[in-house]
């Protein structure tokens, strides 16, 4: 318990540091935000007014304090770029809240794909050690890992979208309109995200299985007269899957990044695309919150992985 207490404190500290870093970093960005917002029609009066409205005239410390207290109270600030109504800007929370399900479902589908494909694949691969299938899998996974997700996205678009016409590239359906159609569309980007990760995970699991297979307790189990099936599913798999949990945690963090690019390829209005467009339009309130949010996701995922690991591995939890 004390362990988790400590972990939580570290987690909060890290988030705080990241928030400071994000805020500081985006204060020194070159480029006049006000000018950028107003474009070529900017007039000094409008600029001055906007500057006042955005609170640019306060000292940085005050601005940070205002910002962070707002965030803690659930007020994530307002976008500088997107309007909600005629005279109000879109609250960042609403903006992200709208994009989040897309990225989230993409990640969920990808992880699902990764898990349901890579586990049986890894087991089968480990079992076929030394046979022809071993080499085939080795080549296949090495190749799959070398394909960048955006190229894979393009290939998927071409193959499934243009040649086979299984889906309409760009024909994204909002999850509010048609959830099934939404998932149906998302399957393809998820595929692009998942394939290299499936290869990685299967490879990792296979190596983990082989390591476990060569350990002494497997010999013990065999000496008891256990069948190979029993040795695999009763002894080896569980132990081999433990490091895979940590590995999957890393994969999830990477999916968050991978989806940035894949969202671009498939035109998904997710968090990743929002981040890219916010960076290029200097929509700093959005960028700051997104950076903070992604950091939080990554840290929390690691935290959860740690907890899960502790739950399933008696060697740690009982110490």
């Amino acid at each position: 318990m004390q362990y988790f207490g400590k972990k939580t404190v570290t987690l909060i500290m890290t988030l705080f540091l990241v928030s400071v870093a994000a805020f500081l970093a985006f204060q020194i960005i070159p480029g006049d935000v006000v000018g950028s917002i107003l474009g070529t029609e900017a007039t000094p009066e409008r600029e001055a007014k906007l500057r006042e409205e955005l609170g640019f005239n306060d000292p940085p410390v005050v601005r940070y304090m205002n910002w962070i207290t707002g965030v803690l109270r659930g007020d994530l600030g307002k976008s500088w770029r997107y309007s909600k109504s005629m005279n109000e800007m879109m609250p960042v929370a609403e903006l992200i809240g709208d994009k989040l399900p897309v990225t989230l479902w993409l990640a969920v589908l990808s992880v699902l794909l990764i898990v349901i494909v890579s586990v049986p694949l890894g087991v089968f691969w480990a079992k076929s050690r030394g046979r022809a299938a071993d080499a085939v899998f080795s080549v296949l996974t090495q190749t799959a890992m070398a394909v960048p997700s955006f190229f894979l996205g393009i290939l998927v678009t071409y193959l499934f979208g243009m040649v086979l016409r299984w889906f309409t590239p760009g024909g994204y359906v909002s999850y509010q309109d048609n959830f099934v159609g939404f998932l149906g569309y998302l399957i393809f980007p998820a595929l692009s995200v998942a394939v290299p990760k499936i290869a990685m995970t299967a490879r990792f699991l296979r190596n983990s299985l082989l390591t476990e297979m060569s350990s002494d307790y497997v010999r013990t189990a065999r000496s008891k007269g256990a069948t190979e099936q029993r040795v695999m599913y009763g002894h080896v798999l569980r132990n081999a899957l433990m490091p895979v949990v940590t590995f999957l945690g890393m994969i999830i963090a990477e999916i968050v990044a991978g989806s940035i690019v894949v969202e671009q390829v498939f035109g998904l209005p997710g968090v990743g695309r929002l981040l890219i467009s916010s960076i290029s339009t200097r929509d700093l309130p959005v960028v700051e919150i997104l950076v903070l949010y992604i950091t939080a996701v990554v840290i929390v995922v690691y935290f959860l992985v740690d907890i899960v690991y502790r739950m399933i591995d008696p060697r740690i939890s009982h110490k």
Binding site: V9, Y217, T220, S223, K224, G225, N239, P314
Partner: protein, 545 residues
């Protein structure tokens, strides 16, 4: 071949027969034409050094030979059933009916041989699940029974423990409980005590003997330790390079070894009996006895406490420290060998590290009267930098010394000459100079290691289990080498070992350590003859049998 078979005392009713067995790994034969048989109620010891093929034989008998191994000749007959016949594929399905139920195995490493993520109770239960029709409700009771039968206590609690929560001895008892729960006809025990401390070792040996007497089953006992085999086994087979050199009753093999190899093996065993006429005793013995009070010591340790930093490197966690050595107090004189004996975790290594300043978390006094004492480690594989050549390794201490003290600076040529000289002294020739450690055998590496420690002529050297990782014959050679160099160079050793016989053979004086305290210290002969402390007696117990 014919003759040798004829020499075996014929068993009326052999439980298992190994006939002319040969096993190949790739191109190398690990086991060559081995013939063995064990009668019901008999314990056969197979003794040999590493690589002699004893473990492969055991695994083959159990049907656990790995995929890469191939049986090229012979057969294994278990109670009249032919289990292995060369030329036929290993019938694993057939074997499964015997494994566990009629033959079972106890392995060397009780930690890794148990599944680390399953409760020990469940692991023993698996035997019942696989081979009996017993209803599930009775499993637990049956397992607890078997736990009691191997001398485990608090079995209810133990049932739900994970392997890492048990001590080494308890784990091995669990392994044995697993092996005997179905009352098999054959138990194969592959070095079951090697990973354990001496005192635990004795208990396990006693347990195996008891089981054998009670169950009247056959037992194949694999070990590298001839002494151990003698204490437990009825008959002993000696193996070398995959062959059985000779097989005799335990008594005969010691009294009438027929083969040269067996004889050398027996000689190499550091027994107390043999060591009384220790070579070089007079020289060093008198050295310490006569001039000890006159000469200045090389090392004085007074009231030394050593602490171990509990390793939390968190920002918030308060550092705890644990005392691992308390009140160590001794003096080491030039040219003498001080033995330090104790079981694993008793603080031997912590003490040596503290003396050499590798752990500064100490209280008390350590006074050196020599410069740059060196250390020889147990593992010859990790104590030499693998990316450097032997020549470079031998010269590096000289270079370092030269850098620290300009007066000791040597020319390249001188250093090379010194390295050659040392190479010869440790019994290797110059051709080794350009080799990397990976190209040397374990014994050769330990020789280089010793050479590297002694090349700067330090006043004393700490040798931390320098022979424990080596086979018996090598052990004897290295010990001889160390003694010879000591005479030549007049260096003092602090000689650390868990093996009281090894320490006995090397030392002028002995300290016995237990739980961080030096419980007894004194002259070697005196201490062996009249141990004062109960613990010392316990350590010596095996010979008192």
């Amino acid at each position: 071949m014919e003759d040798r078979v004829g020499m075996f005392p014929k068993n009326e009713n052999p439980m298992i027969q190994i006939q002319n067995l040969s096993v190949c790994f790739g191109g190398t034969e690990a086991v060559k034409n081995v013939d063995l048989e064990i009668a019901r109620g008999e314990i056969l010891g197979v003794v040999g050094e590493s690589g002699s093929g004893k473990s492969v034989t055991a695994l083959t008998v159990m049907g656990l030979l790995s995929e890469s191994g191939r049986i090229t000749s012979g057969r294994v007959i278990f109670d009249k059933d032919v289990l292995i016949e060369s030329g036929e594929r290993l019938n694993r399905a057939l074997y499964r009916r015997y494994q566990g139920q009629r033959m079972s195995m106890v392995f060397q490493e009780p930690m890794t041989s148990l599944n680390p993520t399953r409760r020990v109770g469940a692991q023993v239960e698996e035997m019942l699940m696989l081979h009996t029709e017993l209803p599930r409700q009775q499993w637990r009771e049956k397992v607890l029974e078997s736990f009691v039968s191997v001398g485990l206590r608090d079995v209810e609690q133990l049932y739900n423990c994970y392997p890492h929560q048990l001590s080494g001895g308890m784990r091995q008892r669990v392994m044995i409980a697993m092996a005997v729960i179905l009352h098999p006809d054959l138990i194969v025990a592959d070095e079951p005590t090697t990973a354990l401390d001496v005192t635990v070792q004795n208990q396990i040996i006693a347990l195996l003997r008891e089981i054998n007497q009670k169950e009247h089953n056959a037992m194949l006992f694999i070990t590298h330790d001839l002494n151990l085999a003698r204490r437990l086994c009825h008959r002993i087979a000696v193996m070398k390079d995959g062959r059985v050199v000779e097989t005799q009753s335990a008594k005969d093999i010691f009294e009438n070894p027929r083969e040269e190899y067996t004889r050398s093996l027996i000689q190499a065993v550091p027994t107390r009996v043999r060591c009384k006429a220790r070579p070089g005793e007079s020289a060093t013995g008198t050295g310490s006895a006569v001039s000890g009070e006159i000469r200045r010591p090389v090392l004085e340790v007074h009231d030394l406490n050593v602490y171990y930093q509990e390793g939390t490197n968190s920002l918030f966690g308060r550092r705890k420290r644990r005392r691992v050595v308390s009140g160590a107090d001794f003096v080491l004189y030039p040219g003498e060998v001080m033995g330090l004996v104790g079981e694993s975790g008793c603080g031997k290594s912590s003490l040596s590290k503290a003396i050499l300043g590798m752990n500064r978390n100490v209280e008390g006094e350590i006074r050196h009267f020599s410069t740059r004492p060196q250390m020889i480690f147990q593992d010859p594989y990790s104590s030499l930098n693998p990316s450097r050549t032997v020549g470079w390794l031998l010269q590096e201490p000289l270079r370092a010394a030269g850098r620290l003290d300009k007066s000791r600076q040597m020319s390249e040529a001188d250093m090379r000459a010194a390295a050659c000289d040392m190479l010869r002294r440790v019994g290797l020739d110059e051709s080794c100079m350009n080799r990397k450690p990976s190209q040397l055998s374990g014994g050769q590496r330990q020789r280089i290691s010793i050479g590297q420690a002694l090349i700067t002529r330090p006043g004393f050297v700490i040798a931390d289990e320098p022979v424990s990782a080596l086979d018996v014959t090598l052990q004897a050679q290295i010990m001889e080498l160390m003694q010879r160099l000591q005479e030549e160079l007049g260096v003092a050793y602090l000689f650390i070992s868990h093996d009281i016989n090894v320490v006995y053979r090397m030392s002028d004086r002995i300290m016995v350590m237990k739980d961080g305290e030096i419980v007894e210290q004194g002259d070697t002969e005196e201490l062996f003859a009249h141990p004062r402390e109960a613990y010392t007696k316990l350590l010596l117990q095996e010979d008192l049998e």
